[in-house]
């Protein structure tokens, strides 16, 4: 009987935890997107006012951001000198950051698209490419925040209730 109760508690807690994780997932994605937006804004100002080359600019960004974004730009700063093109190091950094990040494939596609413009456009074109990427992030974060507010409570209840149903069915 004790094992039965322990199993039931484990199933209910596990399902509730899963529900909370799903509710949190959109929030984590928004947080990472906003961190990338911050990084791109810093990159724009590094290009505009400091006239820094990409390697030190990426190093600065890595110091001023946190989490996946910091590791991503740290990676670029480390590899850009040895890579043939700036995009190569950008793509390599994306491949490294992808498994540990909460961003969706479409977000990585947008960042990859921006990476293709790195290093060969003039200052104004580079700024507009950054602006385009920031616009994408703004639109996505707005969409995600609306969706997250709507779905949060649903995921919480869904997790707990499905745990209870599984427990009742297996009892």
């Amino acid at each position: 009987m004790l094992f039965r109760f322990a199993g039931a508690a484990a199933v209910i807690l596990g399902c509730t935890g899963l529900g909370f994780y799903y509710a949190m997932r959109d929030g984590l994605r928004v947080k990472e997107l906003l961190e990338f937006k911050k990084a791109l804004m810093i990159l724009a100002s590094e290009i505009e006012y400091m006239r820094q080359p990409l390697a030190p600019a990426c190093g600065n960004i890595a110091r001023r951001t946190e989490g996946t974004t910091a590791n991503f730009f740290q990676n670029i700063a480390a590899n850009i000198e040895t890579a043939e093109t700036a995009y190569q190091s950008w793509a390599a950094a994306i491949a490294t950051a992808k498994p540990t990040s909460h961003l969706a494939p479409e977000d990585w596609e947008a960042l990859d698209g921006f990476g293709k413009t790195l290093g060969y456009l003039d200052k104004n074109m580079q700024k507009s490419a950054i602006g385009l990427c920031i616009d994408y992030i703004d639109e996505k974060t707005n969409q995600l925040q609306t969706r997250s507010d709507k779905n949060k409570r649903m995921y919480h209840s869904l997790g707990a209730i499905s745990g209870l149903i599984i427990t009742v069915v297996l009892w």
Partner: protein, 64 residues
């Protein structure tokens, strides 16, 4: 018939009804309908052996 089965069916009914409401409030009517259907099928699987017993009982009672 075990009384526990009745309580189990009642619990599943209540939980499926709550889940249904939660999903409808979140604008997911299709999933809500699927959950209701799954609940009905689950309870039918539990009940089917009792229904079978009932029919056999009736058959033996009336010598059919």
């Amino acid at each position: 018939m075990d009384i526990g089965a009745l309580f189990q069916i009642a619990a599943v009914g209540i939980l499926v009804a709550v889940l249904n409401q939660v999903l409808i409030r979140a604008g997911r009517e299709e999933q809500a309908m699927m959950i209701s259907l799954a609940g009905i099928v689950l309870v039918l699987f539990w009940v089917i052996q009792y229904v079978n017993e009932l029919f056999t009982e009736v058959q033996t009672l009336f010598n059919l």
